[in-house]
């Protein structure tokens, strides 16, 4: 990277001290500095573009030799003379596990955010917010081994119970015996992982509700819940939506936690309690070691789909946020 030592740009001697030109941009130092900083801005765009270009290039190499249909084949076998692979299972697993994660995490995260911003005793609120931010920093592989070695055995009872009482919903029917290494468990783990980010962005938004609105509601005799329903939630709605989208973006691309917990199989089954299924990122992690060069290209092809998926979700989230610039989740 050419621009790796910007700070050490040698100080240019102030040449024109006596007759300063009216335009500051005429000075050499300014030009260099502007060039460097604009250059690194452009470099970012180049990186984004080249991610798309390189992934697409390698992906087309693989997909053009795919004997099956890349979108509908229920198999991943990119070896030999007749390579067959498709992303149907991965797309299904990724979306299902993310939906489960969102369904669990978003209501709870909004609850915690409200708890921190409006319910918790003052002395408790600040440390709590701090702890939530710290939890966002726990690496995903740690969540992964915790999920696999601790959560999975604990969830078995819950799975049986769900099957017993809600088996009639078809979705929650457990038709195969086996440990709880299912898409449902993955969804729960992902929910726990995205809780901190959704919480901290939502909390920021709730704290920005104009105090006047809340006090006005209180002055009219509203209970605390009525204050929240009438002034806090309407104000924070778009912020919560974009926070959820950020969380969704993370859930879609999560690799290690899914790879450790799921016992993968290439079937599409709406019975989410059954072990099996797969996600894009998990499949890449699991198949990478045994893949030859062509197999890697095939994995890159699936990665390209994941890239597009997260791009769409994040882009949408950003467009919603763009209306209110102040809440950005990037620092959370």
């Amino acid at each position: 990277m050419a621009s790796s030592t910007p700070i050490d740009t040698p100080p240019v001697p102030p040449v024109q001290r006596k007759r300063a030109r009216p335009k500051a941009s005429g000075r050499a130092g300014d030009k260099i500095f502007l060039g460097l900083s604009r250059g690194s801005g452009i470099l970012l765009l180049v990186i984004m573009a080249s991610i798309a270009v390189f992934l697409t290039y390698r992906a087309t190499l693989a997909v053009s030799k795919d004997e099956g249909n890349f979108f509908t084949t229920l198999d991943w076998n990119p070896v030999g003379d007749k390579p067959v692979f498709g992303i149907a299972v991965l797309l299904f697993g990724t979306i299902v596990s993310s939906i489960i994660a969102m369904a669990i995490a978003v209501p709870i995260a909004v609850g915690i955010a409200l708890f921190i911003s409006h319910y918790a005793p003052r002395k408790l609120a600040a440390p709590l917010a701090y702890v939530v931010d710290l939890l966002a920093a726990v690496p995903s592989i740690v969540y992964g081994i915790w999920g696999a070695l601790f959560l999975v055995p604990y969830l078995e009872g819950l799975n049986l119970w769900l099957d017993q009482f809600f088996g009639w919903t078809y979705v929650l029917e457990k038709t195969e015996v086996g440990v709880a290494r299912s898409l449902f468990t993955v969804g729960i783990l992902l929910a726990i992982m995205i809780l901190p980010i959704v919480t901290s962005v939502s909390r920021e938004v709730f704290l920005q509700v104009p105090k006047m609105n809340e006090e006005a509601a209180l002055a009219l005799g509203a209970t605390r819940w009525e204050v929240i329903r009438l002034s806090v939630l309407p104000f924070g709605r778009s912020g919560v939506i974009s926070a959820s989208m950020l969380g969704l973006g993370r859930a879609l691309g999560e690799t290690m936690a899914v790879a450790t917990v799921l016992s993968p199989s290439f079937v599409i089954s709406a019975h989410v309690l059954n072990p099996g299924g797969g996600t894009f990122a998990q499949n890449i992690a699991a198949k990478f070691d045994e893949a030859d060069q062509f197999g890697r290209d095939a994995l890159i092809a699936s990665g390209l789909v994941l890239f597009i998926l997260t791009l769409l979700v994040n882009g949408a989230a950003r467009l919603i946020i763009a209306r209110r610039k102040e809440y950005s989740g990037a620092n959370a």
Binding site: R27, I32, L44, I47, I145, F150, L220, T223, I300, S328
Partner: protein, 361 residues
């Protein structure tokens, strides 16, 4: 917004004066009522759970939570009125949400600490896995520690300047289509999954016929780190008061010197914090390392050549071996990694508080 709030309240049939008179004279629950409800719900939940023979305590907890919400609602609507009952319902749901989230997160931290402390000692930190059978006890994390430090260090060296300059461009120079595009794509870039960043470098490696090395991993980490640095630096630069810039420019100081000598020093505390938080974030990334650095059991201090290990990758490796001894090592490494990340976080936030940008005077 405020209009909606007002009309909502005004539609209420009960005049406020009457309501307040009511609440003074009407019956209300004592202050200790929620605690009593919680106690009753837990007793009931555990009782029913034990009686029905449910194995996992998760069910007991869930049942208690539901019972708590129901009991609070019903009791309040009987003793007080419907509005108070709804308020109580919301309050108890929010508390339940909070507890639901705290339990797994506390359990995660507790499990890591208690299981990781078993094999974590000086020997573990200063020895590699060379010559240690995966399923046998012994060995350590030294090679992974070296790998993590070098890869993260390289990534920081590359991405901190780029991120800083980009943020300077956006705040100090940025106008027009280019700045808008950069802002948007920085935001989108924060959402790139780490495995996609890894695949991108992998595709370059496949084209250029490069071998796995620590540097390749660093490049992928760079892609993940730059947007975080840009965002946090941008926020900090925006906090620098304009009067400082104007004062400097009015003295005839060129803009680039103003930025280097006035703007950046003012915000340096916040910028350091942002960079450290970004480091903490990428230090835990496993996927790119797995694709690009390949992992190794031996100490390889050269990040430019040959396979290396890293802490998160080491955890994954040990988990995959699947024996009791390797699980122990995985937990210990997880504890080291969490401690590393947490210390970075705490120090970063300490610096942020200590050197908060001086707004106003």
């Amino acid at each position: 917004m405020s209009q909606a709030a007002n009309t909502g309240i005004q539609e209420r049939p009960v005049p406020t004066a009457a309501a307040s008179r009511n609440s003074l004279s009407s019956r209300s629950l004592p202050r200790w009522a929620p605690a009593a409800f919680a106690g009753a719900a837990i007793v009931l939940g555990v009782g029913i759970g034990a009686a029905a023979g449910w194995q996992s305590r998760i069910q007991w907890g869930l049942l208690s939570a539901v019972l708590f919400v129901v009991i609070s609602y019903v009791t309040t609507s009987v003793v007080e009125n419907q509005r108070q009952a709804k308020d109580r319902l919301a309050t108890s749901i929010v508390w339940v949400c909070f507890l639901l989230a705290v339990v797994p997160l506390a359990s995660l931290v507790w499990t890591t600490v208690s299981r990781g402390a078993k094999v974590l000692d000086v020997y573990f930190l200063t020895h590699s896995m060379a010559g240690v059978l995966g399923t046998a006890p012994g060995g350590g994390v030294y090679h992974a520690l070296i790998g993590t430090l070098e890869q993260v260090g390289l990534a920081t060296l590359i991405s901190a300047p780029i991120g800083l300059l980009t943020a300077v461009y956006l705040v100090e120079y940025g106008k027009g289509a280019l700045a808008k595009a950069v802002t948007f794509f920085v935001d989108v870039m924060t959402g790139i999954p780490s495995i996609v960043a890894g695949l991108f470098i992998l595709s370059i490696m496949l084209i250029a016929q490069l071998q796995p090395s620590g540097l390749m991993g660093s490049l992928a980490l760079t892609i993940l780190m730059i947007p975080v640095v840009v965002r946090s630096t941008e926020e900090m630069l925006k906090l620098v008061p304009n009067e400082l810039r104007e004062a400097s420019l009015a003295l005839g100081v060129p803009k680039w010197r103003t930025i280097l000598k006035v703007v950046l020093p003012t915000a340096i505390g916040g910028i350091t914090t942002g960079v450290m938080l970004a480091i903490a974030r990428i230090a835990g990334e496993t996927a790119p390392i797995m694709l690009l650095v390949f992992g190794s059991q031996l100490i390889n201090p050269n990040p430019f050549q040959g396979a290396q290990s890293s802490l998160p990758f080491y955890i994954w490796e040990q988990y995959k071996i699947g024996s009791e001894a390797s699980y122990d090592r995985a937990w210990a490494a997880a504890l080291v990694l969490i401690a590393f990340v947490m210390i970075l976080n705490l120090v970063a936030r300490g610096i942020a508080r200590w050197k908060a940008p001086k707004t106003g005077r």
